[in-house]
Amino acid sequence: MSEVAAIDRPDENRQEIESAVVRFAGDSGDGMQLTGSHFTMTAAIEGNDLSTFPDFPAEIRAPAGTTFGVSAFQINFGARKIMTSGDQLDVLVAMNPAALITNLADVKPGGIVIADSGAFTDRNLTKAGYTESPLENDSLDGYRLVKIDMSRLTVEAVKEFGLSNKEGLRSKNMWALGLIYWMYGRKRQASIDWLKTKFAKMPEIADANIAALNAGHAFGETAEMPAELGTFEVERAQIEPGVYRTITGAESVSLGLLAGSQLAGLNISFCSYPITPASALLHQLARMKNFGVVTFQAEDEIAAATAALGASYAGSLGVTSSSGPGIALKMEAIGLAIGTELPMVIVNSQRAGPSTGLPTKTEQSDLYQAVFGRNADAPMPVISVSTPSDGYDVAIEAIRIATKYMTPVMVLTDGYITNASEPWLIPDPSTYERFDVEFRTDPENFHPFLRDEKTLARPWVKPGTPELMHRIGGIERSYDTGHISYDPDNHQKMTDVRAAKINGIADDIPEQEVEIGAAGGKLAVVGWGSTYGPINRAVTNMRDDGYDVSQIHLRYIWPLPRNLEELLKTYDQVLVAEMNTGQLRTLLRSEYLVPAEGLNKVNGKPFLIGELEDAIRARLEK
């Protein structure tokens, strides 16, 4: 990309496109997350559907300019329903060489690469591992490269505000944002308003950022940009009317926990120990004290789980959350919850393992741990979150099941969903059916393991209730009296009834529906959790191309929906796509003896739509 042509490009010439994928990538200190969230907000306000994904470095303060210090934010926005944050990038904004080298592979052939040439210094090039500048040789010939000295232009744009060079450079992200706003014909007002409010106490910082934003925009407008780059128009999407906000998985789960506890008429005691990516939940709930939420940062995950259980014993809703390694530590306490039949919700934000694994990378590899990972026969319901906004309903459902059946329930979400965001049609809480908990207060014929005939749940008694003093614990309890019992026949009976209680939940959850397509046919792609978006888009695309393929997506992992076996057996082939080495596949095969095959990957990244399409094609064309 050589000459910069100075021509006038009025708005009418914008090329209309259905959707676009843009990634802002830079150093951790470059403010890429903020830039991305601004672009997201504006896209949402302008009526696009969208999906975003932030990619943070694992290190807190990685040295500037290094590849492991790169922070990126990706947004896919469109005039149609957007299911994923996008396979390939239409535009990569690279604020330094490290950002370029780590993200270039995701740019589609012929895609646009906008680089801050001012940051391609020898020092930065060396840190990123370049021996010569990729902006100056032919290595980027397959892309439409735009090199702009954003650093210099930003410093110039803000110099009137009397900031130091270093301070001025901080507005570089806003300069880039202004340019991309211009490319897609976006209004700057929402960002300007935000900056004014955010920096109300530091007006010179607000002004500098606004000046940089305007300068980036003007740079495009005044036609200093290469003509062949083009400008684009992404129309409004057909979206259900209503009031929207963007929501991440962490936000939806925390709001859902609060909503669910209110529907149950309970206070929450949320007990947790920090771990990536689960900490976000603790942070969210810690700010909900005005709703009576108790949060407790325990000394470890064992204490977190046991304190949550103690809270449930005392009559509030005990909730604990962690990711894989922490969930492993909680398991003995979860076993106690199963044995004593107390309600409790465990949120597992899965990440890549084993052990510390890749703490900031997503995976769905805790299904075995959730369904099977305890000593002895210890069944427990497991439900999963499919999209960033889905956490709201899933958390409510977890609380409904936990309190109705007096059982711990594990919610499986993952690092991708926790951090990704999407627009959310804000629900009306009053439209949700209440499921108020009725604590037992009647001493007549009471014992703590008396069961409800239908649900098989035992009564929940709040300590403090007159005449109902009783003792419970981990030692096996007599079916008939609730006292401790070492009788082997009683143990058989109690093991059976615990299993029957959990299996019975299958009658109280919706039958499995076919997400896209219909029962019967050549191929069903089965998924659970965060693979929802890519599978949905891939199956839609393949059906449009005439392939006989359907999507089945599970929320309920345990117990499985009653009709699932029958449904799966209507297809010639079943393909289970999951980000692990085949855990749901094993479960389905062992439960139903269906010849399910797997499409599996664990490279820390969500499925690409293209990968799924290839797999579908391979199975239907063989």
Binding site: I239, G242, Y244, K289, T340, P429, G464, I484
Partner: protein, 340 residues
């Protein structure tokens, strides 16, 4: 919370359940159970608002024998479970019971954090210096050289002092007593109950089967006067038959010394006076060991400090000072937009 008071005064027996007590005959746990039941009767405790939480071990069977609410949990975790109980309902009177293995080995971490947070619990540690339930392995309080199935040639690691541990992590109430002191123990338990915050009580308990006589060097009749000092706030630190001995503070060496009144010109005026608000003194008392020094029993340390549970709920109240949160407003938090 229901404020019905029980119709008539309860006796110790009213705090006993109908469950067969399953400790070995002669186990010190029986005496402690009796003392706790007596204490609750004397305190006119309300059984429906009283909760006993325990971990696993012989000692941890305790809740099954108390006619109150009770939760027998998992090994080592009782302080954490109890923390959840108390945070969830601060009006409950929560007692935690466990052995030396339960609370200082597998659960040492939770014991430390409960104590340092000063959550309002009574923690009763039954120290028999052995793992009773698992058939007699040495424990973290066993003396060096303890022969047990896992240490046939004698244990080689240093034992931990429960009271010093509790003082070291910032405990606000640390006391000691013994299973056989049926008058002393209920008095200590009453003080523990009266204290707001974590009351940590180490109770020396004889395991007749696996560690019989572990404490006899200071509990046997023949030596008890010389080898025990019962400390009381504001009282001189006297012990021995006829209170003829006492402790003086050697200020140049910063340690306590045992002396005999009348010897070397010592008078009662030289004897140190117990100040239970003095952590250094409490630490020195907790360090004393026979045969050179008596074992200090009673309330070694007590200070008043904010409790964790009260502070947690004060923050919640503060957050609600302008009224309960508005959930709809929370749902609409951040930037929203309307699609027509």
């Amino acid at each position: 919370m229901n404020v019905q008071s029980p119709p008539e005064k309860l006796t110790a027996r009213d705090f006993a359940t109908d469950q067969e007590v399953r400790w070995c005959p002669g186990c010190g746990d029986y005496a402690i159970l009796k003392a706790v039941q007596n204490t609750l009767a004397q305190l006119e405790a309300d059984p429906k608002s009283t909760v006993f939480v325990s971990g696993i071990g012989c000692a941890a069977r305790f809740p099954y024998y108390m006619e109150t609410y009770g939760f027998h949990t998992i090994h080592g975790r009782s302080p954490a479970v109890a923390t959840g109980v108390k945070l969830s309902n601060p009006e409950l009177d929560v007692w935690v019971v466990g052995g030396d293995g339960d609370m200082l080995s597998i659960g040492g971490n939770h014991t430390m954090h409960a104590i340092r947070r000063n959550i309002d619990l009574q923690i009763l540690l039954f120290n028999n210096q052995i793992y009773g339930l698992t058939k007699g392995q040495y424990s973290p309080t066993s003396k060096i050289g303890t022969r047990s199935p896992s240490t046939p040639m004698g244990s080689i690691d240093n034992p931990v002092s429960a009271a010093q541990f509790a003082l070291g992590v910032g405990g606000t109430f640390i006391a000691r007593s013994s299973d056989i002191l049926q008058k002393h123990l209920p008095e200590v338990l009453k003080r523990a109950h009266g204290h707001r915050g974590t009351s940590f009580v180490e109770i020396f308990q004889n395991c007749i089967v696996y560690n019989d006589g572990a404490f006899k060097h200071f509990t046997e009749k023949s030596v008890q006067d010389e080898m025990q000092i019962h400390v009381e706030h504001g009282q001189p630190l006297l012990f021995g038959k006829d209170k003829s001995k006492g402790l003086v503070l050697n200020t140049s060496e910063m340690r306590l010394e045992a002396v005999t009144l009348g010897e070397n010109g010592i008078t009662e005026a030289d004897i140190a006076v117990h100040d239970e608000t003095n952590r250094s003194l409490a630490t020195m008392l907790a360090q004393m060991d026979p045969p050179t020094m008596p074992v200090a029993l009673g309330v070694l340390y007590c200070e008043s400090a904010p409790t964790y549970d009260a502070s947690v709920h004060a923050q919640i109240e503060h957050a609600r000072k302008d009224g309960e949160g508005d959930f709809t407003k929370l749902l609409h938090g951040g930037q929203t937009w309307t699609v027509e």
